[in-house]
């Protein structure tokens, strides 16, 4: 009997050990920094892994970096979808809500995407925060300074998370938007009052006699002659000089993507 119980326990322990090993393997496959495109040296990789791990553990929000040759190997529908697919497939994130931020670089077409997941993460990196964050690393990436870009990214993630923990997350100043909104509201109110004011006077001279037309318009001539063409050109204002990026949503989180 004892032998049976022991052998059952042994099997149970073996199964648990195998599961743990499998989970460990998954974690091992994607650390905080995964350089499949081989952009970083070994020491750089180790240094970044150390920095990202420290920030992640301090704030319980995973800060991840993944580089790949082509994002289509993960998801063919776009770099942002590939990023959140990667995040969820590898169960990235820390804490019960799996909070984390993942930066993915796809080198074939120089695509990038950032994905934020979890309430605490999205509190620290709202759309304005994400927009500001991309500025710190895109300049480096455009100059192929991978280590510089990644280290700036991790450092700034730490700063954003620290600010959020202190209850002062990075937010856009609403002053300009509020002034514009107040101006528009005042204008709308003025237009409405003017329309009502105009209705106080219903006396107006008539310039047409449409009510007394007995025979509708008989058109005898209808010519439209093209005379000339004028052309004007204006430069399209870009948000950043070296490429464009845009806000994204999906994968139960939010983020941004673009080219560098």
């Amino acid at each position: 009997m004892k032998k049976r119980v022991l052998s059952l326990l042994l099997v149970l322990v073996t199964v648990l050990a195998l599961c743990a090993a499998a989970a460990g393997q998954s974690e091992a496959q994607l650390g905080y920094v995964t350089d499949r495109a081989q952009l970083l040296g070994k020491s750089q990789l180790a240094q970044l892994e150390k920095m990202a791990g420290a920030v992640s553990r301090q704030f319980q929000v995973g800060v991840y970096i993944v580089t790949v040759e082509d994002f289509r190997s993960i998801h063919s529908d776009g770099v942002y979808k590939a990023t959140y697919t990667l995040y969820h497939n590898h169960s990235l994130g820390l804490g019960p809500d799996r909070d984390g931020i993942l930066l993915l670089l796809s080198m074939d077409d120089r695509d990038w995407a950032m994905f934020c997941y979890g309430k605490r993460c999205e509190y620290a990196f709202n759309s304005h925060g994400q927009k500001q964050l991309e500025k710190v690393f895109l300049d480096n990436f455009r100059e192929n300074d991978w280590y510089g870009g990644f280290s700036d990214y991790i450092r700034n993630c730490g700063a954003y998370l620290a600010a959020a923990e202190a209850g002062k997350p990075l937010r856009a100043s609403p002053l300009v938007a509020i002034l514009v909104a107040v101006g528009l509201c005042l204008l709308a109110a003025a237009v409405i009052v003017t329309i009502i004011w105009e209705k106080m006077n219903t006396v107006h001279s008539k310039s047409t006699a449409n009510a007394y037309i007995t025979q509708a318009l008989q058109l005898t001539e209808k010519t439209d002659t093209f005379t000339h063409k004028t052309t004007s050109r204006r430069k399209i204002e870009r948000s950043s000089s070296g490429g464009s990026s845009r806000s994204e949503s999906g994968g139960s989180g939010s983020g941004r993507s673009g080219k560098f």
Binding site: C185, R234, I236
Partner: protein, 366 residues
């Protein structure tokens, strides 16, 4: 001796008859009898003829040259009649054609004002009563947030007059062409540049429109803009002129000549043609009229009396005039505006809008 004025009296009790718009009949206030306008017209045809003749004779008998020299032009603008009911002297404008005796209140008609060449072709009888006009005014005060609170309460009607206003009605045709400068735009992006191509067109439209009975008020006493504003009238109810529709209302003969009024009708015809031609220019981003050449073919002119209720009110020492179309009930007028209410309304609209938008913005940036 026949007088220049005719009283329409009830054939049953000799009480004064008044035309009532709701029934379309002449009704006696005393015995309640009612009569068709045609009946009374036939009954009084001879009397009217005599009254008109008396008017002409009076004008030919009296030498007013001396009066004019002594009393100025005002003497020509005033006429004296004798009320056939009570014998009182009625002093009226030279254009007055129907009035009421200030002493006995009986409605009186001056048939001479509408005899011969001065006879109107048509009359549009009143359909609305005085009470209808007052109700229309009360309704007009409703839903006017800028109206001073005391206006509808403190102001009181000074005078309500049902007036048959003389109108010239012009038939005609406008024929002509209008040129427009029209543009089409096409915008496309190429590289870092956005290009806008604007194609310019010389658009020409020509055509004709026919009009019938464009009304132009022929009384200098009536403000033209008020008379324009209470249009349109439904001409289906136009009747051949009869003085039988006049009792109970005021009426004037025209004092603005046909030629003086024609210009306003011409402007409206040309305006309608240009507007109709502009309506055929479609498919362009912009269209600006650059020239017009419109020829007006003038047709027949009619002379008609159209029904108008005039309501005068006084508030804080200022007079306010309202005109009601006596047929359709359309009311027009200029109401006073309370600056305090205007500011209050502005604040009442702006404050919640600002509160909602600012709150939404603050929530968005959180």
């Amino acid at each position: 001796m026949p007088t220049e004025i005719t009283n329409y009296q009830c054939p049953a009790c000799t009480g004064p008859l008044r035309f009532v718009g709701a029934s379309g009949k002449l009704e006696c206030e005393y015995c309640g009898s009612s009569f068709q306008a045609a009946e009374i017209q036939a009954l009084y045809a001879e009397k009217e003829h005599q009254a008109a003749q008396a008017g002409q004779e009076a004008e030919s008998q009296w030498d007013t040259s001396g009066i004019c020299r002594d009393w100025g032009v005002e003497a020509e603008a005033i006429k004296a009649y004798s009320c056939p009911s009570c014998g009182a002297e009625l002093l009226c404008d030279a254009t007055t054609a129907a009035t009421a005796c200030p002493y006995c209140g009986n409605p009186s008609v001056v048939p001479g004002q509408f005899s011969g060449a001065l006879r109107p072709d048509y009359i549009l009888p009143f359909r609305l009563s005085k009470e209808d006009a007052i109700r229309a005014l009360k309704r007009h005060y409703l839903k006017k947030p800028l109206l001073p609170a005391t206006f509808s309460k403190a102001n009181h009607l000074q005078e309500i007059k049902g007036v048959y206003v003389p109108f010239w009605m012009y038939d005609g045709r406008a024929d002509g062409s209008v040129r427009f400068h029209a543009t089409q735009t096409h915008t496309y992006s190429s590289g870092d540049y956005e290009t806008t191509e604007t194609s310019h067109y010389d658009v020409r439209r020509a055509g004709a429109i026919a009009f019938e009975k464009i009304p132009v008020d022929a009384s200098s006493k009536m403000p033209d803009d008020y008379m324009d504003s209470i249009e349109p009238y439904d001409y289906a109810d136009l009747k051949p002129f009869s003085t039988a529709y006049l009792p109970g209302f005021l009426a004037d003969k025209y004092d603005v000549s046909l030629e003086s009024s024609r210009q306003r009708a011409d402007q409206r015809c040309a305006g309608s043609l240009a507007q109709a031609l502009a309506g055929t220019v479609t498919g362009y981003a912009t269209c600006i009229e650059t020239a017009r050449d419109i020829c007006l073919h003038r047709g027949k002119v009619h002379y008609a009396l159209l029904p108008v209720w005039l309501l005068n009110t006084k508030w804080e020492g200022k007079d306010f005039l309202f005109a009601v179309n006596g047929q359709t009930g359309k009311l027009v007028g200029k109401l006073p505006v309370s600056p305090r209410r205007a500011i209050g309304l502005f604040a009442a609209i702006a404050a919640p809008l600002i509160a909602i938008s600012v709150t939404a913005l603050l929530l968005m940036v959180r």
